[in-house]
Symmetry: C2
Subunit: 734 residues, 2 copies
């Protein structure tokens, strides 16, 4: 229990440093009056969007919380669930809000700093990104600590070992709150930002031939607002969810793996939290390591960033051994190697992403070259490359799953599926996911400073700060893209591992649901007799519910799960398409109707474009997000436990691969276009460039709306199933 | 046994009528000398491609057959396997060959007949399509009959009931031969046709602004050859495979479901064959019903086609009851309803496809409208619509699975997974697939005559037969597209159901493999003791191999299976992209270097374009096709039975949904373009039209290369796993 207090301490440390960096950033000058005004426009637009968004989402939360209260009233859930759910959503929203607030204050300051030097620009942008990273991990550990302390005080259980199972599975409901909030943030923000971006590009760049972020383009403010609500607030909520999800799912697995060993059980529950806490300290250390000499070039900056990330990663790998050893785990070596397999997997996936999406390598260059034969071949080759690129993450995750499982079970290959080993192995998989995300504080900082630099570039362009400044902010943005590839690898890899861990939590919750409804034994028809539920392992439940791959209910579930991934992407893609079309029409109308707009004399109506994106995003985000909540509930009622398990596995398999494909195709198109813009194959304005712009535009919803939302979708479907397990059990007993 | 002779009789009937229709078609005039010459060019190009293709594929077959012989030598398979495998491949190739031969003879004749009237054109094209339909079903039933008679004579088994299990599982290996051949045909043909098509369109239509099939376009002959090798020969091999696969898988399930009831076992094995045989007679009847008055309009023609298809479908539904009743099945009503659920599912999927891809409905019109904002929004909205469209086939197949399963087991919901019910239920699912494909003779005719009409149009264009003739062939083609939608629904739906049935055959083959290696009991660790393998049911094997959704090997298999679908599509998409680029460059070169080519004075070098497509297809088809064979083998060796089951389920879930998405997006883009070409939204040559041409071009590999190959991929992976089951078992015992 004493170890546990590291967690709230780390949380306060993270929040304290976040505040420190925020204050430091605020002391920088925001530059000229014009820069301040533009920044204010963007800030106000972003805040007003967020307010609108939170209103809609709050309504959804109130309805769901009411529903959970009814379930609790009928004994299908415990009474803490509605509250835990609400706090998860609240903290997730808070993380997005703080991150975005910081980003919108930082953009003009970064532009102003970039006037001085590249390094100065990096410092302001990166430290602001660090605020986001530290707020996310700080709030997550705060929420975890508070709920643990509350539930530890109030939850009572007669059976030894059962108390921690109750606590950890209840805490998963705040994971569901976080996931719900994150999905809305990603989908709403993603639609907003891409509608604005696509709209601005299609008319501005392609038709009118004016540069990006040109103040004559009416959609330009909306575009910059979009970067904040989508890439900053959306990503914040998303990673808050991933971080909490992996820790909570692993804690729940720890509670069940050590249910018969009360001495170790608490330690198994705390271990993921402690790894995360140590990760926070290392992240702060890493953030301070990101500094370089005043007149540093790109290469130096890059190595400064890498130094910060790598030092934290290596130290957490080393300290993991110490943590598991000090906690007194018998298999401390094995568990530590599980963590390392997770870390390594994240890095390999990141490198693979880099290879398939950076224009330093062949795949993206080929896409650029296919622009010679027009936009159609750009699309075909980009989709082809994206689909092929899925093999690296899949094979890596496959190896990480097997390796972390075997490490945790002492490489007992013949007996790897015995009851005890299954629990331990799954715990190993969970702990690998925690390892991947343990240094989120700094990896998120490297991810979040990109959009800040991007916005700074927008501000510089609109205020005419000159080419040199714009070039610097572009360089910072590009630098961020490279480190962000690793960050994305960690996010996507951890999602797959966490979703696996959540499968086990689902069974755990089914068990609790059965006990709550008074069922005490599992009776088998085939001569094995009965097993007491309290003593039953995962395998017993699989047998009891016949969750095998021959059960048609499982197979139907798999089909529906696979479909959910595609349906969800289809709905969000269409949403972007529709909203973007409205934006295009509006920008065309303004170019047509407002006199002198293109020679800089007429003033474009920015607010109208902001309103179109806001309205589009709000309207369009509801259906796909609600489907993610409703389909698992319906499947549970109609097809029972086997159907739900099939749904989750099908959604995980298809969703993971589809997410990688969309993210990588999108990234590769983006960079193929940049490759041309750097002067290759005819450069800007050539036909090849136009063809790659089409690819980039198609890639926008791929990589920033549908793709990243899939990670959350996969986990949210699992979380919903877990929270609704009581209903599924009750229904199947009817 | 007497019933069985219906099968060879039906086969001979089908082949006889195919010959009759072929002769009748050959009697038609081929038109002018120029028409004959063009047709000869296309025919020779197609035949020389096919020869080349068969050479490469024969090599693959020889290597695989040698490998199977080695396996047989070491007692890991029986001695019939290499031979069965080879005949499956041979007959599948033969079906493609005959179909293509007919099609290449029919095109000029159809064009010539269309000079006379629409109805005359339909008669020639449709009867030629019927040749293909009847050849496919005739050869399939011939192969099935021959092998059954041979194996019945030579296979010996001490245990009653075991003999038919041995026979049916051995026959599945010729299914693998058919699948392997089909995959090569689809992939090679698909790459060929789309490289030519995309290349011809990109330079001809978009850049030079000359119409489709214009003789000035050097790629135009290659394009017409492509229609034959891809859409005709590829489709023939594909559906031969689907047809055999569903019958053989169901027969194998019948043998195992009734293993303890020798009186009914033979009947359960024959039932799918007999349904197919009856379907052949009904198809021939239906083909004769497709006739109308001489001066019929489109609507009349449509209703003539529909009459043929509907009458056969309704009659087979009715006769199924009679068949099962006469065979003496206790649950004849239930099994018949299983068949009907399959038939209905095929129709619903077809209707759904029609809704999402025809420009009479909103989704496709919206895609056309999104062309107003350029090609990027066309791509985004087309992909969105395609992804959303997956929900109809998935929900339909889900219902068909549950319903056919429950019908076959007498709606015993509580006990649906008991040993006996599981076997019966799976048999029901298989029989639903057979029902779907039972009238393939006529549905394939309606599918195959489309490309013939398309080619006739090409011939008419190149020979300058005038707008009226071209209009008629276009009308025939469009008519074919509508009926083909239903055909595609049947193909894709039956693939999903057959793949499910093959899962069960895999377990059956594992059982045989264990027995062959001397293992006689399944020993369970958890106190259930041992079960004799001879008496063990599917559920016992699932327990023994721990094929549950918590087994990390299963989950890793699911990931890899999902990835396979994407990787395969990526490779084939890229192949088309690369080959098309080469074609574009060649066409551009010819336009540049051959003097007077565009004003009709210079003669384009058609042969060179044909050679480029041939070479591209041959080189590019190997990797994706071989992966489909190698990955299941490797998975079996590394991850054992649970890994393979995961692989198959993951591949099935993702592959099915991905296939629907790609087929429907591609179809919708095609028709969105046609909608514009009919004069809407600015018509031909407008910017909107150009934008939709980009969509159409991207859609080409979607709907004609990658999408349709996925159906085969799913089944081939299952077939490979089944044939390799002995190796997997032997390896796991090491």
């Amino acid at each position: 229990m004493n170890y546990f207090y590291l967690v709230p301490v780390a949380s306060l440390f993270a929040l304290g440093f976040a505040y420190y960096f925020f204050k430091k950033m605020m002391k920088e000058s925001e530059g000229t009056e014009q820069m301040k005004t533009i920044a204010k426009y963007v800030r106000e637009g972003a805040m007003s969007y967020l307010k609108q968004q939170y209103k809609v989402v709050a309504l959804v939360f109130v309805i769901l919380a009411a529903f959970f209260s009814v379930m609790a009233y009928f004994g299908l859930q415990n009474n803490w669930v509605p509250f835990a759910f609400l706090t998860g959503g609240f903290f997730s929203a808070l993380a997005g809000f703080f991150g975005m607030k910081t980003a919108t204050y930082a953009s003009a300051r970064t532009a102003n700093a970039a006037k001085e030097s590249l390094n100065k620009g990096l410092q302001v942008a990166f430290r602001s990104g660090a605020v986001m990273g530290l707020v996310v991990v700080g709030l997550a550990l705060l929420d975890i600590s508070l709920w643990y302390l509350i539930l530890d005080r109030f939850v009572e259980s007669a059976e030894p070992g059962h108390k921690l199972v109750m606590i950890t599975t209840t805490m998963l409901t705040f994971g569901m709150g976080a996931s719900t909030q994150a999905l809305f943030a990603r989908v709403g923000g993603g639609i907003y930002t891409k509608a604005a971006d696509v709209g601005a590009d299609l008319v501005g760049k392609v038709e009118a031939g004016i540069p990006e972020d040109d103040p004559r383009n009416p959609a330009t403010i909306a575009d910059n607002v979009g970067d904040n609500v989508g890439d900053v607030a959306g990503m914040g909520a998303d990673l808050y969810e991933s971080y909490c999800g992996s820790i909570l799912a692993t804690a729940a697995l720890g509670a069940s793996a050590f249910v018969l060993n009360p001495a170790m059980q608490a330690k198994a529950v705390f271990a993921p939290m402690i790894i995360a806490a140590i990760g926070v300290f290392l992240s702060i250390l890493g953030i301070f390591l990101v500094r370089t000499s005043e007149n540093a070039d790109m290469k130096r900056l890059m190595s400064a960033l890498n130094r910060g990330v790598n030092v934290s990663a290596i130290l957490i790998a080393v300290l993991t051994f110490v943590i598991f050893y000090l906690l007194g785990f018998e298999n401390w070596m094995g568990l530590s190697f599980s963590v390392i397999s997770g870390l390594l997997a994240g890095i390999v996936i990141g490198q693979g992403t880099e290879y398939f999406t950076s224009h330093s390598y062949r795949p993206t260059r080929r896409i650029a070259e296919s622009g010679k034969t027009g936009p159609a071949t750009v699309i075909i080759s980009g989709m082809g490359a994206g689909m092929i690129s899925t093999f690296i993450p899949v094979v890596t995750i496959a190896l990480a799953i097997l390796f972390s499982y075997l490490c945790a079970t002492g490489f007992d290959v013949r007996q790897m599926m015995s009851g005890e080993n299954l629990s331990m192995g799954l715990y190993g998989i969970g702990i690998a996911a925690v390892g991947m995300l343990s240094t989120l504080g700094i990896t998120l900082a490297t991810d979040a400073y990109g959009p800040i630099a991007d916005n700074a570039g927008g501000n510089a362009e609109m205020c005419g700060l000159g080419k040199e400044v714009r070039k610097r902010t572009d360089a910072l943005d590009a630098l961020g893209n490279t480190t962000a590839a690793t960050g994305k690898g960690f996010a996507i890899g951890s999602a797959a591992l966490t979703a696996l861990a959540l499968l086990a939590s689902y069974i755990e919750e089914i068990k609790i649901g059965m006990l709550r409804l008074g069922q005490t034994v599992l009776e088998f028809a085939d001569g094995r007799g009965a097993v007491e539920i309290g003593k039953a392992g995962f395998a017993d439940f699989m047998n009891y519910y016949q969750v095998t791959l021959m059960n048609p209910k499982v197979l139907v579930g798999v089909f529906i799960g696979s479909m959910m991934a595609f349906l969800f992407c289809g709905l969000t893609m269409n949403a972007v398409g529709r909203a973007a079309q409205k934006m295009v029409e509006e920008v065309r109308r303004q170019f047509r109707e407002i006199a002198g707009i293109l020679d800089g004399n007429g003033k474009p109506d920015y607010a109208r474009c902001v309103a179109i994106s806001t309205k589009g995003a709000q309207r369009e985000m509801l259906l796909p997000s609600l489907l993610a909540i409703i389909i698992p509930i319906v499947t549970g009622v109609v097809l029972g436990v086997p159907g739900v398990m099939g749904l989750l596995v099908g959604g995980l398999g298809s969703g993971f691969v589809l997410a990688v494909f969309m993210a990588n195709s999108g990234g590769a198109w983006d960079n193929a276009k940049k490759y041309i813009e750097e002067g290759n194959l005819g450069g800007k304005g050539s036909d090849v460039h136009k063809a790659t712009v089409v690819g980039d535009t198609v890639g926008d919803p791929f990589k920033d709306t549908s793709g990243p939302s899939l990670n959350i979708l996969i986990k949210l479907m699992s979380m919903v199933s877990i929270v609704m397990a009581g209903l599924t059990v009750a229904w199947s007993l009817l």
